[in-house]
């Protein structure tokens, strides 16, 4: 995704394209201190990129809220996970219920 070798700042610093393409890494705190500072310098002078950042975060949150409020298919209950695990053990050792079965290695 973000390739530091393409992140060369011109006389006016980095561009809007640089900021927008590295936005997720910036939000996730995955940028080097230098790149982070470059982004913040740009954000301090570019209203469009600030608007982009804010609306990007709003969109992520809106999607999560809209989808969660809309009853999800079916959450996987813990009981079901346990049942599957239990069933799996039975499948793995089909003769486990037989008293004469040899011990499983």
């Amino acid at each position: 995704m973000f390739n530091p070798s393409t992140f060369k700042s011109g006389p006016d610093g980095i561009t809007c394209r640089d900021v927008i393409e590295t936005l997720m890494a910036y939000i996730d705190g995955e940028l080097s201190p230098h790149d982070r500072a470059e982004i913040e310098k740009h954000l301090s002078i570019c209203r469009s990129c600030v608007n982009y950042l804010e609306s990007y975060r709003a969109s992520v949150r809106a999607a999560a809220e809209a989808m969660r409020s809309h009853s999800p298919p079916t959450p996987m209950p813990d009981d079901l996970v346990r049942a599957i695990l239990k069933a799996r053990n039975t499948f793995d050792r089909p003769d486990a219920s037989s008293p004469n079965a040899p011990p499983t290695p």
């Binding site: 982009y52 609306s55 709003a58 809106a62 999607a63 809220e65 409020s69 996987m76």
Partner: protein
Amino acid sequence: MLSREEDARDAVQDAFLSAFKSLHTFDGRSQLSTWIHRILINVCLMKLRSRKRRPERPISDFLPTYVEDGHQTVPTPKWPGIDRDEPTLPGKLSEQVRAQFEQLPESHRVVIMLRDIEGLSTEETAAALEITTDAVKIRLHRARQALRALLEPIVLAERESD
């Protein structure tokens, strides 16, 4: 992932059924939930493919464009009603948010589903979709950008109507 609720329920049921049927193939190395997710995703994808669907628009249709000096072709306007600390949209827009979400290509929608909605980690998402973590990051960022672009006209129209 599937637009209609009953389809989603069917898919979950089918996924659990095939999970039970293939229990012996579960190797215990992956988290059980990741494993079931993978099956669920495969079942959903199969259903999607089998259903007649309008053609998808490529993700590039929804990504920002730039002029030669790296500025956005169209500067991003401020969205009303959000600020940096609490960036959220009015709940009444939920229906429209879901409708726009459906516009995203399946390959990108599924990544938002797993990462931002189901809360899986990048690694878990990569395992569930059988793609690299880098691919997850690229798709997630593009999907969020595309969703942002799709929501913008709705949010701005909302301001007009207030």
